[in-house]
Amino acid sequence: MNDVFRFKIAIQTMKNHWKTTIIITLLFMVIAVGYAGMFPAFEGSIAEMMDSDFYESFNFFPHADQMHTYVGFLTLELYSIFWLLIMAIMLGFIAASSISKEIEGKTIDLLMSNPVSRKQIVIEKFAGLIPMFLVANFGTMLAVIGITAALNESLDYGNLIMVHIVSIPYFLAVISLGLLLSVIIDEKMKSSIIMISILVGMFVLNSLSLMAPDYEFMGSFSFLHYFDTYTVLKFGEIDVGGIFVFIVFTFVCLVAAMIYFERRDIAIS
């Protein structure tokens, strides 16, 4: 059984994604620097805007009322959209195609001709995607630290680090959900698009639940309900229950993916 711990499929998965890893990391570093760098120029006009009713039109995004502060601006422009949504979509897209592309491309036949179990394939594909988001995660964090220091804005770096640490279980949950879809749906485009729809759906649900009290209960179906970057960034408050939800969710998805993949037929079309 020592083969299980050699993680050769995981290492190959990592190697397959090294270019994507660099591109995503650089992209998010540029986005972070770009948006944060805009703040001094917009600070005044946003503060004026806050006095009018105009900001209400931003209500769809959580914490829009804090947009005139650096932390609020960072949350709204960077974390709530690019980080929690776009980054999740990118990782979800890759995870949702990880096994489905081997089934669709029929390379799974050769992969499984080696002495590897199906459970092992699921676990190693999951493990192989982790380094990618860890690099992007901490790369982006360093970029935010750098630009904040350069702008001389006030930001609690402890809280910033905390945001990026809490991001780990959040993205693990995203990847595990993508992986579950990728063992169920054989076409990589289909599974990836379903994954994106789920993530966008969760974003909308969370925003609706914050805007309309009647829909508040719906927020609990959204990942974003369990991870509010603003409260972490501003007050250093961590939603321990939320982290627990992400970890349990990840575990459930992985086990479900292993069981489903173990039992299913791998038919060729």
Partner: protein, 339 residues
């Protein structure tokens, strides 16, 4: 002998019976005369280990309601080249993919090297190489990286790799997506044999190989057989099966219709007589299997060639051919009336 106290299901009276473990005894209740069977419990039968390399028992696979294969029972002996014949869609690939654990059998069981495929598939794959029929490789890897990756997954000595690379020369430093079909097929062969497995299962492995390479491949298979390796070979190309296989199984519509030594099968089939007569061919009354095709009378006969020649002597013969059955004829025989 074991003694057992049981209760009559009808009158609830106690009955004491004797029997051997796993024995099924017929009982009549002394009080109410109810009859029934009782099976003595016993140890599970010994694992049905076998010296065959591959063995299937009633192996069945349905895709929903669509039949893939049904009740396939056959065995492949250690050290033989077994040809698995059938046209496209007959169930060859389904059989292979079920054997290798890609598909869950609907019914029946299969053993490879004595191990049940349901419980030991990962272990089995240490001893079994596989060339898929629809070979798809990782296009973004170079040949070398691909072979390295698979060698690392097998985690054993690649004892045949050097020899294989000499016979099946591929551009190892080029990305596989730039390979021709023949090169891809060659690397498929290399990966299956490189750790010198006991059994190699091949699904139409010669497709895409030019005749020269096919011959190299057959020679290689013969060498492997000499070393005692077992080779399972599916094909719809009869000439190659004729050339290299010791035994064949013919599959038709998911059912095994023949399982025989190639030579025995040929002998059994008798002679094929083709004759052209001046008279109307319909006037000749031949055996039941007689057919008239393009003015030729065709029929198959086993031992009574003499009888039919004498019958034919009453006609004016324009042309006459008597042939041994080729595997191709046998195949057509089993598929008669099918498209």
């Amino acid at each position: 002998m074991v003694q057992k106290n049981i209760m009559c299901p009808n009158c609830k009276s106690k009955i004491t019976i004797e029997g051997n473990p796993r024995e099924k005894v017929y009982i009549t209740c002394p009080k109410c005369n109810t009859n029934g069977f009782f099976s003595f419990p016993g140890e599970e039968p010994l694992q049905k280990t076998t010296s065959n390399a591959i063995e299937t028992r009633n192996l069945t696979k349905f895709y929903g309601k669509i039949k893939g294969i049904e009740n396939l029972t056959f065995s492949v002996k250690k050290g033989e080249i077994f040809g698995f014949l059938g046209p496209n869609g007959a169930g060859k690939t389904t059989t292979i993919r079920t054997l290798l654990g890609y598909l869950n059998p609907t019914n029946g069981e299969a053993f490879i090297l004595g191990k049940n495929i349901n419980d030991n598939i990962v272990d089995i794959k240490r001893e079994v190489g596989y060339i898929p029929g629809d070979l798809n490789l990782y296009g973004h890897l170079t040949g070398r990286r691909f072979l390295d990756y698979f060698a690392s997954l097998r985690n054993t000595e690649m004892s045949l790799l050097g020899e294989l690379l000499k016979v099946f020369n591929v551009p190892l430093d080029r990305k596989i997506k730039g390979y021709s079909k023949g090169m891809k097929q060659k690397i498929g062969i290399i990966q299956a044999f490189m750790d010198d497995p006991e059994i190699v299962i091949m699904d139409e492995p010669t497709s895409g190989l030019d005749p020269l390479l096919q011959q190299k491949f057959y020679d290689f298979l013969h060498d492997q057989k000499k070393k005692g390796k077992t080779l399972f070979f599916s094909s719809h190309v009869l000439s190659e099966v004729d050339k290299i296989c010791d035994r064949i199984g013919i599959i038709r519509n998911g059912n095994l219709v023949a399982l025989e030594d190639v030579e025995t099968l040929k002998g059994k089939m008798g002679k094929m007589i083709k004759v052209k007569i001046k008279e109307k061919p319909e006037t000749f009354i031949g055996p039941e299997n007689m057919k008239i095709k393009d003015g030729w009378i065709e029929f198959v006969t086993n031992d009574d060639v003499d009888h039919w020649i004498k019958m034919l002597s009453k006609y004016t013969i324009i042309d006459l051919e008597i042939n041994e059955f080729s595997l191709e004829d046998i195949f057509i025989h089993y598929y008669e009336g099918q498209t």
